[in-house]
C-alpha cells in the first residue's frame, strides 16, 4: 500500500534521450504534412530511427533475461489441480474436470456475448452506410432559369426527412450545347469543411419565387451577376465555375448531375470536381465520385482517402 517504499526496486525505466529525438521526428512529420515531402521523409526517418533506439533501450533488460528461460516455457503446462497426478515426460496430458468446466463457461459466455454484441454493433455502425444518396429532385421548369445567370435554388434533398434536409444549389443555364440544354449546378457546400458558400454578387430577393409541387417547396432567387462564391466560415473563395481561387478549400465546388424530363430540370447524383477548365457549356469538368469536404480527390493527397463510403 505504501507507494514510497516497501517494493524494494520500483521498475522505473532508466533515463534515456531517445524519446526527445522521437518527438522531434513526430513533429517533423506533422510539419512535413503541411510544408512538403522532404521534411516528411526526414521526420519519418527520425521517428523510425529514434523509435527503434528507444525500443531497444527499453527492452534491453527483457531481451537479456528472456534468452534463458524460453526453452522452459515450451514444456507442457502443468494443470493447477492438486488432486491430479503430475504428468511426467511422455505421458498423455490429462485435463481435470474443473479445467473443462472453466473452458466451457468462458467459451459459452464468449459465444453468448458475441451473439448479443455483433447485431448491436452492426445496428450502430451499418445504417449510416446503407441506402445513402438522395432521390431525383424537381427544381422547376427550364424557363425558370434565365441564361448565364445563377439562380439560388433551395429544395429538400430528402423529402422524408423534412426541412432539416433543405439544401441550396446555384443553378446556371448555359444555353444549348450541340442542341441540348446545358446547366452548371453547384452545391453550396464549401469543400473546405462544409459551411454554406454565398454568392459574390447581387441576389434579387424581390424576384424570389416559391413553387410548391406535391407538397414540396422550392425557392428560386435570381441573381444580377456573380463574380464567384465565398464561404463565411474560413474565407474560402471560388470563381464562377466553382474553381478554388483562394483560402483553405482543396478542390472545386461539388456539382449535381441533372436530367430534363417533361421540360423540367431534375437534380440527380452529387459528384466532386477537382477543377474546371473553360467556362459555361464548353467547360471541361474533372469529375470524381462524391467525397466529403476537405478530402483531396486528385494528386498524391488523394492516397489518404483510398476508399469512400457509399454515397
Amino acid at each position: 500500500m505504501d507507494p514510497h517504499g516497501g517494493h524494494g526496486t520500483p521498475n522505473e525505466p532508466t533515463p534515456t534521450i531517445w524519446p526527445v529525438g522521437f518527438a522531434i521526428g513526430i513533429a517533423c512529420i506533422f510539419v512535413g504534412l503541411i510544408l512538403g515531402t522532404i521534411v516528411l521523409v526526414i521526420g519519418a526517418v527520425l521517428t523510425g530511427l529514434f523509435g527503434f533506439l528507444w525500443a531497444r533501450d527499453v527492452t534491453s533488460g527483457f531481451r537479456g533475461a528472456s534468452a534463458e528461460p524460453e526453452p522452459a516455457s515450451v514444456a507442457p503446462p502443468v494443470p493447477a489441480h492438486k488432486a491430479e497426478p503430475e504428468p511426467s515426460e511422455g505421458e498423455i496430458i490429462r485435463y481435470p474436470r474443473s479445467k473443462f468446466l472453466e473452458a466451457v463457461t468462458l467459451g459459452l459466455g464468449g459465444v453468448i456475448g458475441g451473439v448479443v454484441t455483433v447485431p448491436v454493433l452492426g445496428f450502430t455502425v451499418l445504417p449510416p452506410f446503407i441506402k445513402q444518396g438522395h432521390p431525383d429532385i424537381d427544381v422547376g421548369a427550364l424557363a425558370d432559369f434565365p441564361e448565364n445567370k445563377y439562380v439560388i435554388t433551395t429544395f429538400l434533398l430528402d423529402p422524408e426527412q423534412g426541412e432539416v434536409s433543405r439544401r441550396t444549389a446555384y443553378i446556371r443555364n448555359n444555353g444549348l450545347l450541340a442542341g441540348k440544354p446545358s446547366f452548371t449546378i453547384l452545391s453550396n457546400r464549401c469543400v473546405h469543411l462544409g459551411c454554406p458558400v454565398q454568392i459574390n454578387g447581387l441576389p434579387l430577393d424581390n424576384q424570389k419565387k416559391t413553387e410548391t409541387r406535391n407538397g414540396l417547396a422550392v425557392d428560386r432567387i435570381p441573381t444580377a451577376a456573380a463574380a464567384g462564391f465565398g464561404c463565411p466560415c474560413h474565407g474560402g473563395q471560388y470563381d464562377k465555375e466553382g474553381n478554388r481561387t483562394a483560402g483553405p478549400p482543396v478542390r472545386a465546388l461539388d456539382r449535381y448531375d441533372f436530367m430534363i424530363k417533361n421540360g423540367r430540370l431534375l437534380l440527380r447524383k452529387t459528384y466532386s470536381v477537382a477543377k474546371v477548365d473553360g467556362e459555361g457549356a464548353d467547360a471541361k469538368i474533372h469529375k470524381y465520385p462524391l467525397a466529403g469536404p476537405g478530402q483531396h480527390i486528385d494528386g498524391v493527397e488523394a492516397w489518404l482517402y483510398p476508399v469512400q463510403p457509399p454515397r
Partner: protein
C-alpha cells in the same frame, strides 16, 4: 449546558445509529466510506489537491442538471429548438438549470485542466501513478466529446454549423476519416439521425463511461495514496529542521470519531 440522564442519551444515540449499524453489518459500506473519508494523507498538501474533487463536483452538477433537462428536451429536428426555448422561457427556473448545465460544462473542462496541471507540476503522475494519469486523460477526452456532442443539441444555427464543421474536420482524417464522419452523422448528410445519435452519446454513453472511469480513478487514488509536493522534506526522506509543525486540524477531526468507536 443542561445535563440529561446519561442512560437516555445513550439510548437515543443507539437508536440513531441502529440503521447505520444494520447497514454496516450487512454490507461493510459504512466502514468503507469511513476508510475513504478518513484515510491518511500527507500533512503538507494544499488547496491545489482539492481540484480533483472540484472537478468531480462539477461532473455531478452536470449529471443532475442534465437529467432534469432531459425530462423536457426533445431530440427531434422539428421540435428540438422549440423545446430548448420552452425550457429557457416558460418553465420555472428552467433558465437557471439550463444555464448551470451550459456554464458548468466549461467549468468542468477548466477544472480538469487545472487538476491536470497540478498533477503535472507536482510530478504526481510518476511511478506508480502512471495508470491513474492515463485514466485521467481518458476522462478529459470523454469530457471534450461530451462538449462536442452536447453543442449540437440546442439545434440553432451556431450548433448546426459548428457540428457540420466539426464532423467534416474529423472526416478529413486519412483512411478511416470518411467512415468516421458517416458514423458520427448517421449517414452522408446531417439529419434527424445525427441529432438523436448525438443526444444518445451525450446523455447515455459518455456520462456512463466517465462515471466508470471516475470510480477507477478514485480507486487508484485511494490505493496509491496522495502525493506530497515535490518540495516536501518528509517525502524526500530528509529530517526536518526546527521543531515539528503542529498537527493540522481539518474541518472534521478524524481522531475523535475513531476513538469513540474503538
Amino acid at each position: 449546558m443542561a445535563r440529561r440522564k446519561p442512560g437516555r442519551r445513550e439510548q437515543l444515540l443507539k437508536l440513531a445509529l441502529y440503521p447505520l449499524d444494520w447497514l454496516e453489518e450487512r454490507s461493510g459500506l459504512v466502514g468503507g466510506v469511513k476508510y475513504f473519508l478518513f484515510r491518511k494523507v500527507p500533512g503538507d498538501i494544499s488547496w491545489g489537491h482539492t481540484l480533483g474533487s472540484a472537478a468531480l463536483t462539477a461532473f455531478l452538477v452536470q449529471t443532475v442538471t442534465g437529467v432534469i433537462l432531459a425530462m423536457y428536451y426533445t431530440p427531434d429536428p422539428n421540435s428540438a429548438y422549440e423545446s430548448i426555448r420552452h425550457i429557457t422561457d416558460d418553465l420555472t427556473l428552467g433558465w437557471l438549470v439550463r444555464g448551470m448545465h451550459r456554464w458548468g460544462a466549461s467549468v468542468f473542462i477548466i477544472l480538469l485542466f487545472l487538476h491536470m496541471g497540478r498533477v503535472f507540476l507536482y510530478g504526481a503522475y510518476k511511478y506508480p501513478r502512471e495508470l491513474n494519469w492515463i485514466v485521467g486523460v481518458l476522462i478529459l477526452v470523454f469530457g471534450m466529446m461530451e462538449g462536442f456532442f452536447g453543442y449540437l443539441l440546442p439545434w440553432d444555427q451556431t450548433a448546426y454549423w459548428a457540428t457540420v464543421v466539426g464532423v467534416n474536420l474529423q472526416a478529413t482524417g486519412p483512411f478511416v476519416g470518411p467512415f468516421l464522419g458517416d458514423i458520427l452523422r448517421g449517414g452522408s448528410e446531417i439529419g434527424p439521425d445525427t441529432l438523436a445519435r448525438f443526444y444518445s452519446l451525450h446523455m447515455l454513453v459518455l456520462p456512463g463511461a466517465i462515471g466508470g472511469l471516475i470510480v477507477l480513478h478514485l480507486y487508484l487514488v485511494v490505493r496509491l495514496g496522495v502525493t506530497s509536493p515535490p518540495w516536501s522534506p518528509t517525502a524526500a526522506g530528509r529530517p526536518q529542521s526546527g521543531p515539528p509543525p503542529p498537527p493540522r486540524k481539518g474541518l472534521v477531526a478524524p481522531g475523535s470519531r475513531g476513538a469513540r468507536k474503538r
